[in-house]
C-alpha cells in the first residue's frame, strides 16, 4: 500500500529516492490510469521536472521546507498561477489564473509540488462526479461505480496513487463523501479554518477547502500547513493552528464519544451500520466511553441545506456574465443576449437547476417562506451541535454515507435522490464544525465504508486523534 509521507520524506533525506523519481512515478500512474479521468489538467512535464530538481537541490543543501517532495493534486476550483482553472465548467474552459490561492502559496513555501488540477463536479455541485463538463471520474475500486463528488478527481488521485495527497473543497460533504466511497481520509475543517482566497465560490457561508490523504498523518500534516488566518479572506479565523501531527497518537482513553442516534436510522445500509458499531466497540475496549446522544433537528438538514446553498450559488454565479473572464456566446447581439446566451450555452444542467432553485427561493413572495425559514432552521441545527458538545462530549462518531459508492446513472434522473446522498454530511456544514472521514472496513462487495469523527469548532486535533485510533484498530 501507499507509503506515509514521513517515510517518503525520510527516503528523500537518505537519498533512497528523489523528487524527480517520485514525480516520474506519479506521472506514469496518471498515464496508466487515464480512463479514471481524475485530472482536468496535468502540469507540463518539463516544468514539473524543473520544480522537482529545485526541491531535490534544496533537500541536498538541507534547506528544504517540511513538505519537500509532497506531491499534491489540487481540485480544479482552486487557482494555481498561470495554470488553467475550469471549476469543472465549460464557462471557464480557457480561464488561466493570474494569481495563486493562499493554500497554494503555503504549500509551495514548504516545497510541496503541485502535479495538476483534479476533475470535479461543475462548480462543486454534485455528489457523484457525474456533473463535470470534462467527463465522469471513475471509482478506482470498481469502475462501474461513482467515486463520489464533488471532489471526485482529488480523491481518486490519492486512492489510485497519482499523488501523495490532494486538496478538495466542501460545501455539503464534497470531500468526506468521495473519501468514504474510495477508501481514503478527508477533512472538512471548521468554517474559517482555511483561507478560501483563490477558491471559486459556490455557497460562501459553507465553502471550505478540505485536505485529503491516504492516512490520517498525511492529512493532518497538510492541514497544519495550509490552515490559519489570512488577511485576504475576511472569514478566515484568527485562531491559532496547533501542530496537529504531534497529537494524533494520543489515543482515545478517557474520551467521551457521542453516538447521534439520528445517524443510525432508516436508510442506513446494515453492513455499514455493523462496521461502524464494531469500530465503536474497539474504541470502547481501548478506554473510550461511548455515549448515546441526540441531534433532534437532523432530519431538516437536507431541506435547509439545499435552500441556502442554491440561494447563495445563484448570487455567486451571477458573475459569469460572458464579459469579464468567461465564455461569450457567438449568437449574442445585445448586452442582454450576451448574459443569457453565454450562461445558457456554457452552464451544465445541475448548475442551471441550482441557479433556478436559488433564484426562486430568493424571489419576492418566497424569500420569507423558504430562505428566511431555512436560515432559522440553520440556527436550530447549529444549536443541536452546541448543546451536545456542551455536555462533556469530545467528539461524535457517525457513518459518512448511508450507502457505499453507487453505480453510474443510478441517481441522475432524480435530482432529489442524489441530494439525499448527503444526508449524513450536510448538517456538519450547516453547523460549521470540523469532521474527518476515515476508512472503516469494506462491505461484502469489497467497497470501502467511511466513518466520520465530528468535533467542536476548531478542534480538528480531536478529529485526527480519534481518526488515527480508528485507522489503527480497524
Amino acid at each position: 500500500m501507499n507509503k506515509i509521507f514521513s517515510e517518503i520524506s525520510m527516503d528523500l533525506k537518505n537519498e533512497k529516492t528523489t523528487c524527480k523519481a517520485l514525480i516520474d512515478s506519479y506521472l506514469q500512474n496518471i498515464e496508466k490510469q487515464k480512463e479514471l479521468n481524475a485530472f482536468i489538467t496535468v502540469f507540463d512535464k518539463e516544468k514539473l521536472a524543473k520544480r522537482a530538481e529545485q526541491v531535490d537541490s534544496k533537500i541536498n543543501s538541507k534547506s528544504a521546507g517540511k513538505l519537500a517532495g509532497l506531491v499534491v493534486a489540487v481540485k480544479d476550483a482552486i487557482v494555481v498561477k498561470d495554470e488553467r482553472s475550469t471549476s469543472g465548467s465549460r464557462i471557464l474552459e480557457n480561464y488561466i489564473s493570474p494569481y495563486n490561492a493562499t493554500v497554494i502559496e503555503r504549500l509551495e513555501n514548504e516545497d510541496a509540488i503541485i502535479i495538476g488540477k483534479a476533475n470535479m463536479d461543475e462548480f462543486a455541485m454534485g455528489s457523484s462526479n457525474e456533473n463535470s463538463a470534462y467527463g465522469n471520474v471513475l471509482n478506482p475500486i470498481d469502475t462501474s461505480r461513482v467515486p463520489g463528488g464533488s471532489s471526485g478527481g482529488s480523491v481518486v488521485a490519492v486512492a489510485a496513487d497519482m499523488s501523495t495527497v490532494a486538496l478538495g473543497s466542501e460545501t455539503g460533504g464534497s470531500v468526506r463523501l468521495p473519501a468514504s466511497f474510495c477508501g481514503v481520509v478527508g477533512l472538512k475543517p471548521t468554517y474559517g479554518r482555511i483561507s478560501r482566497y483563490g477558491l471559486s465560490a459556490f455557497a460562501s457561508s459553507f465553502d471550505q477547502i478540505g485536505p485529503i490523504g491516504n492516512n490520517v498523518e498525511d492529512t493532518a500534516l497538510l492541514t497544519e500547513v495550509i490552515a490559519g488566518l489570512d488577511s485576504r479572506d475576511s472569514t478566515s479565523a484568527n485562531v491559532p493552528v496547533p501542530p496537529f501531527t504531534d497529537q494524533i497518537t494520543k489515543g482515545v482513553k478517557g474520551l467521551r464519544i457521542g453516538i447521534p442516534k439520528e445517524y443510525f436510522g432508516k436508510g442506513l445500509d446494515p453492513e455499514i451500520e455493523s462496521s461502524i458499531r464494531s469500530a465503536m466497540d474497539k474504541l470502547s475496549n481501548d478506554g473510550a466511553e461511548i455515549v448515546d446522544v441526540s441531534l433532534p433537528n437532523t432530519e431538516y438538514g437536507i431541506a435547509t441545506y439545499y435552500i441556502l446553498v442554491t440561494a447563495e450559488a445563484s448570487s455567486n454565479l451571477a458573475r459569469y456574465d460572458g464579459i469579464r473572464y468567461t465564455h461569450r456566446s457567438r449568437e449574442a447581439k445585445t448586452i442582454a443576449e450576451t448574459f443569457v446566451k453565454s450562461r445558457s450555452e456554457a452552464f451544465g444542467e445541475e448548475v442551471k437547476r441550482r441557479i433556478m432553485l436559488g433564484t426562486y427561493v430568493l424571489s419576492a413572495g418566497y424569500y420569507e417562506a423558504y430562505y428566511k425559514k431555512a436560515q432559522k432552521a440553520r440556527t436550530l441545527i447549529k444549536r443541536d451541535f452546541v448543546d451536545v458538545f456542551s455536555n462533556r462530549i469530545d467528539c461524535l462518531l457517525a457513518p459518512t454515507s448511508p450507502t457505499v459508492a453507487f453505480k453510474f446513472g443510478e441517481k441522475t434522473k432524480d435530482p432529489l435522490s442524489m441530494y439525499l446522498s448527503d444526508v449524513y454530511t450536510v448538517n456538519i456544514n450547516i453547523a460549521g464544525n470540523p469532521a474527518l472521514s476515515v476508512p472503516c472496513g469494506k462491505n461484502s462487495e469489497n467497497m470501502p465504508i467511511g466513518i466520520q469523527v465530528i468535533a467542536k469548532d476548531f478542534d480538528e486535533a480531536m478529529c485526527f486523534r480519534v481518526g488515527h485510533a480508528i485507522e489503527k484498530l480497524v
Binding site: Y191, R328, V340, A369, T379, L380, P415
Partner: protein, 96 residues
C-alpha cells in the same frame, strides 16, 4: 407550494438563463419535487428563532485604507473574451 411553467419562465429571466419548452417542463417538474420535499421545514416552529447567516461568528474585520499593489491590467484582462486597449468590449448599449 408549487410552481407553474410560467413562474419557471419568469425565474429563468431573473437568472439570465433561457430554456426550450422541453427543458421548461422538466425543470418545472423537478423544482416541484424539490420544493415539495423542502416544505417539511414548515413542521418546525421558528417563530422565536433568530436567523443564522454564518455558522461561526467573527468580529468585523477592519484594515487601513492603504494603497497596495494590484494585478497589472494586462493580467486582469487576459481572460476577457473580447478586449481592446485597457477595456472589456461589450455590445453597444444605448439606454432609452
Amino acid at each position: 407550494m408549487s410552481v407553474t411553467i410560467d413562474e419557471v419562465k419568469k425565474i429563468a429571466t431573473l437568472a439570465n438563463l433561457e430554456f426550450n419548452e422541453n427543458e421548461l417542463e422538466k425543470y418545472t417538474h423537478q423544482l416541484n419535487t424539490i420544493l415539495e420535499y423542502v416544505d417539511q421545514l414548515n413542521k418546525i416552529d421558528t417563530s422565536s428563532v433568530e436567523a443564522t447567516y454564518h455558522p461561526i461568528q467573527y468580529p468585523d474585520v477592519f484594515r487601513n485604507d492603504d494603497i497596495k499593489e494590484s494585478l497589472p491590467i494586462d493580467k486582469v484582462l487576459q481572460n476577457a473574451p473580447e478586449k481592446t486597449w485597457q477595456y472589456f468590449v461589450v455590445p453597444k448599449v444605448v439606454g432609452p
